[in-house]
């Protein structure tokens, strides 16, 4: 099959949905001629024009609200927030309005919008351009949260997100943009709420999100040589969460390591640990549930410090080795 990058997969999903459905449009900063800070929408202005590629000044709150308002009367906007760090500015309209308008109005309305945003560190962009806030949005009933780790998942999940009748926070990872993978040319959906087993194994389960899936895969290759057979589960959407796939994997291996880039305290790993502990998998656990996540610091500028602030392949290997020998 044809291989394209994660970035191209996102662009292709948006383009195909815009071709299919005239209600879909893009709104965001520098998404026109500039092509977006990461070139995700590059070339789309030529195809769709300024009518459907709405380049805004720096107005995160305004543009997110504009997307919400348009969605409220039946449009299907895709808002881009240039860096996830700036969803802090957008969050009033997203959290108080988009997420709640349907419920508050007793189900009379829908808000079919997507808010796309790149998260994560690794580019040397420092404290204000490197954060991972997924769990803030997972905490809000009314929002869905998708976090693809491959080009294939990016395209399928984005198409589903655009077609979904609810606001979806779609989190892309900057370091994944250039990664390549097989992606069908035709449009396809990956249901929101369906995890994917990225690697089958029997000794322990790693549940990882976004870039950590890729790092866990590298770690698993190394661990395999040491005789540790790792299963990797990628939830793909954090809300709704496919607990079944997760629970089944943990029942099978009896051991689980959760890996994410976001800071550990208050991160999604806590939620996953809770879900597992409450489930029938609890009785199958042969060791404590372990978490490996971002350190308790803002993301620093210096390359070495930045690297040390989030889990790396070697950290995953070490933690998995530790887990392999652990017993309850």
């Amino acid at each position: 099959m044809r291989e394209i990058s994660y970035l191209e997969a996102v662009r292709e999903a948006m383009t195909q949905e815009m071709e299919r459905d005239p209600r879909v449009f893009l709104i965001g900063e520098d998404i026109g001629e500039y092509g977006g800070a990461f070139q995700v929408s590059y070339g789309m202005l030529e195809e769709f024009g300024h009518e459907r590629i709405l380049d805004t000044p720096i107005t995160e709150l305004g543009l997110t609200g504009a997307a919400t308002g348009a969605a409220l009367i039946g449009m299907r906007p895709i808002a881009e927030i240039m860096f996830m760090d700036f969803t802090t500015l957008a969050s009033e309209q997203l959290v108080n309005q988009a997420a709640k308008l349907r419920y508050m109005f007793g189900g009379q309305s829908t808000v079919p919008m997507v808010l796309r945003t790149p998260a994560g560190s690794g580019t040397g962009a420092a404290e204000h351009h490197s954060q991972s806030f997924e769990n803030w949005f997972v905490h809000v009933p009314g929002l869905k949260v998708a976090m693809p780790s491959t080009p294939y998942d990016a395209k399928g999940l984005l198409i589903s997100s655009i077609r979904d009748n609810n606001p979806v926070v779609f989190i892309e990872h900057k370091l994944l943009y250039k990664t390549k993978g097989e992606v069908p040319e035709e449009p396809y959906e990956i249901p929101l709420g369906q995890a994917d087993i990225k690697r089958e194994g029997k000794d322990l389960t790693i549940i990882a999100t976004a870039i950590m899936v890729k790092k866990s895969q590298e770690a698993a290759e190394q661990l395999a040589q040491e005789g540790i057979d790792v299963e990797i589960v990628d939830p793909r959407t954090l809300r709704p969460l496919d607990t079944e796939t997760i629970v089944n994997s943990v029942k099978k291996t009896g051991k689980v390591l959760i890996v994410h880039e976001a800071v550990k305290t208050g991160g999604f790993g806590g939620e996953l640990a809770g879900v597992i502990a409450e489930s029938e998998a609890f009785g199958y656990l042969e060791a404590p549930i372990l978490r490996l996540a971002g350190r308790e610091v803002p993301i620093p500028y210096n390359r070495n410090l930045e690297r040390a602030a989030v889990p790396q392949v070697e950290d995953i290997i070490e933690k998995a080795r530790q887990l392999a020998t652990l017993k309850v």
């Binding site: 900063e29 962009a125 500028y301 070495n304």
Partner: protein
């Protein structure tokens, strides 16, 4: 306001240091020595130096992401600044902040900001503090034309006027916010008009003319010091380089860039100083040479400085 020979030389030196710093930053980046991105202020030197020349050493500035020039104009130690740009342990922020977050708190520089508009609400609070402290100090708050479209700008104008804070808001209108042309929604005059709407005395200057910038900001500083509250100055200028390293300059033409290069703020100032018999050509060349030499030694200092110890990663999140 008349310009002394001594000051003229100082301003020219600072403008050349800014130009040289930015050129070095770009070279270091191209050579793969810098991890991350940066926002160069080549072409905007008069706005930085002219504005900050109005301050006493005990006054404050708060900057924005395109902040190298502001930092130099506020009198930063070039070595510590370059070391921070290189992410080194002895840089101003211990390598934690980098290009977009250089601060020199002791020197009265309350820091650059990665969030567009992020410094504006802070400026209001700093102004409230300065007023309470009653030591007659003032703050210059810098931001771009792009920041003038944020809610933070509008709320800050309202609060600044309400509390009559001793702050001069200085908008460096370099015509673009990334690719978004300020002419698409406003001009320097219109940004100034926004200030007026909220009750601030507001002016637009030729931001490439150091004297004009200085005079306009001086009026604001005098007003702030005299208890007359906040004001807004919009410096009309241009960035010669792309927005950052990701910029492909698709949104503007080479002709436009070349036309602005003809309005080089440094050459403009040199010409003025020559006419006014303040700085001869020979002296100007000497100053230029010194500026580039200063930056070269800062580069050497930075490159030979130690990397931060990874063991210190978690230090400094909380105050003791």
């Amino acid at each position: 306001m008349t310009l002394t020979k001594e000051n003229a030389e100082k301003y020219l030196l600072q403008m050349y240091q800014i130009r040289a710093f930015e050129e070095q930053a770009e070279k270091s980046y191209m050579a793969g020595k810098i991890h991350g991105t940066m926002h160069l202020s080549i072409g905007q030197e008069a706005s930085a130096v002219g504005s900050i020349s109005t301050l006493e050493p005990t006054d404050y500035i708060i900057g924005h992401h395109r902040g190298h020039g502001l930092t130099i104009a506020k009198g930063a130690d070039l070595n510590l600044m370059m070391a921070e740009f290189y992410g080194k342990a002895n840089g101003y922020c211990r390598g934690r902040g980098g290009s977009m977050h250089i601060a020199d708190i002791k020197g009265g520089n309350l820091g650059a900001n990665g969030v567009v508009g992020g410094g504006l609400p802070l400026a209001v609070g700093i102004g409230i503090g300065l007023k309470m402290e009653a030591e007659n100090r003032v703050l210059l708050c810098f931001f771009g034309d792009g920041a003038a479209s944020t809610g933070a700008f509008h709320e800050s104008m309202i609060l600044a006027e309400l509390y009559q804070v001793p702050v001069v808001f200085v908008c460096e209108n370099n015509q673009y916010a990334m690719s978004f042309a300020s002419r698409d929604w406003t001009t320097s005059k219109k940004i100034a008009a926004h200030g007026e709407v909220y009750g601030l005395t507001s002016t637009a200057t030729d931001g490439n003319n150091l004297i004009e910038v200085r005079d306009a900001v001086q009026m604001g500083v005098d007003r702030a010091r005299g208890g007359g509250g906040p004001s807004l100055v919009v410096n009309d200028t241009y960035r010669w380089r792309g927005h950052s390293k990701s910029d492909r300059n698709r949104y503007r033409t080479n002709e436009e860039i070349e036309a602005w290069k003809k309005k080089d703020p440094i050459l403009k100032f040199r010409k003025y100083c020559k006419t006014e018999k303040l700085i001869t050509d020979e002296k100007a060349e000497e100053i230029k040479k010194k500026a580039y030499a200063d930056i070269e030694s800062a580069r050497v200092f930075a490159e030979s400085s130690p990397e931060p110890d990874v063991q210190t990663l978690e230090e400094g999140v909380y105050a003791p």
